[in-house]
Symmetry: C2
Subunit: 246 residues, 2 copies
DNA sequence: CGCGAAGTTGAGAGAGGTCAACTCCGGTGG
DNA sequence: CCACCGGAGTTGACCTCTCTCAACTTCGCG
């Protein structure tokens, strides 16, 4: 039972650049505690969502009981988008006080038909989602556990806007979540963390706060920088970033 | 140097259901031989493409020289779609006589702004691409080589419309491509194939023609059926398939 | 202080990567 | 027609890495 925070008439900023008022008017803002689910697998795709603050995880559970985390959802991420049907994955919240915006999907679709601007933003969101999936796919293809964990840390820093920043990065997720995300055993993730610590690449303050001491070293670990190929495409730094594409 | 086959005024069928004439008028049809590239990584995203017949592969190459196949492109698949920018991946053709339809991306985008129908079709294409990526991600998360190869065969059969059909499936790609697709060594892929052959799950006629003798066995190999979760979502068979979502 | 959950560490077994040899197949040219 | 060649595919032996299972430690909280 999430808390409704604001009436739908309140402007939601930061969700999409220049959200059209018509779309804005449909929004509802909700607040969740860690462990609450936003929707479950096979639920009807009634609403579209966007994270404002906090973190959530999208996951699948197979008959054997093993779980695979499909995506971590961080601020600005849209999810649950799709046409009428049922969700393939469940989403639940992993950080206390996570706030999300919710839109009635069918109305947004209808709005998209009449407002090209809305349609374009949905396309952008889809392209962004594709970009993330492709990044993740390259990551899963990396052979060694060190590389995957390294790529994960780089991706997280990138998405939190803290790539190459000196400060600490707060991991919103448990080691177990990281393991399910990277298709590794928890123990392996743990071992890699301590290995990176001993090598002076990272420092841990508590369990969740990571400080990257050696960004070059971290990037060197990943035989190929999955995020750089996304954002830079081998072009000179400082140039405009290309949009995601597929 | 692909062969231009038809003037752009010729109607392209099968690409999208009910392609609007305005979009149709922009199309050019091209024919490729195996080994020719359609575009390279870092090329500008000038055109959007759709496979009509044959097969191609989308791939990334890392500094070490190792290659990762991001996607196999089969008939009906759209690719290269995106806003102005540069391609993250290269695409080259793997089957002789592959035919492709090409659209000027910018014009399609502009058309989408004026025609909601075009916009909706682009969204659908994006959702479909996401569906494929998610399927693939679950596949890469599978721990064992047997499971990945099994899931790959099921996915391929599904996409070729030959799931649970008695006939042969023609693999358009080499073992090496399969390996790069599944993030396995070629030798491992080969070993799994022979293992499946000895167990009577599949039969090989030549190198490229596979006949699945035991579909139940094949599905049983995959600890979780990545394609079924896509198309069925645990609902009763025979119901309308949900669209892809994310 | 005590408890449970989360995280870490260790030892062992198993799976896949690597390297090398070999087979199979299609194409080419004598 | 056959020998030769090269590339793709297969098989084998070995080694490395990760998973598994178990014990232990740390953290957070009442």
């Amino acid at each position: 039972m999430p808390t409704t925070m604001m009436s739908s008439a309140v402007r939601v900023r930061g969700l999409m650049p220049a959200v059209p008022p018509a779309l804005d008017a449909l929004a509802a803002m909700l607040r969740y505690q860690a462990g609450q689910f936003i929707y479950r697998s096979a639920d009807p795709t009634e609403f579209w969502y966007c994270i404002l603050s906090g973190a959530a995880r999208k996951y699948a559970v197979n008959p054997n009981g093993s779980r695979r985390i499909v995506d971590f959802l961080l601020p600005q991420d849209l999810f649950g988008i799709g046409r009428d049907g049922r969700h393939r994955f469940g989403v639940d919240v992993i950080a206390d006080g996570t706030t999300i915006v919710r839109y009635p999907g069918r109305l947004v679709e209808r709005l998209a038909d009449s407002d090209p601007c809305v349609a374009r933003q949905i396309r952008e969101a889809a392209f962004e989602s594709i970009r993330r999936l492709e990044t993740r796919m390259l990551m899963l293809g990396l052979g060694r556990a060190r590389e995957r964990v390294g790529a994960f840390l780089l991706e997280l820093a990138e998405r939190l806007g803290q790539r190459r920043c000196p400060g600490e990065i707060c991991l919103p997720m448990s080691r177990c979540d990281v393991a399910d995300y990277l298709a590794l055993a928890v123990e392996t993730v743990s071992r890699v963390f301590t290995q990176l610590r001993f090598q002076g690449v990272i420092r841990l303050n508590g369990l969740r706060n990571i400080q990257v001491c050696d960004w070059d070293g971290l990037e060197g670990i990943c035989s190929w920088d999955t995020t750089a190929s996304v954002h830079n495409c081998g072009r000179a730094p400082g140039m405009a970033l290309p949009f995601a594409r597929f």
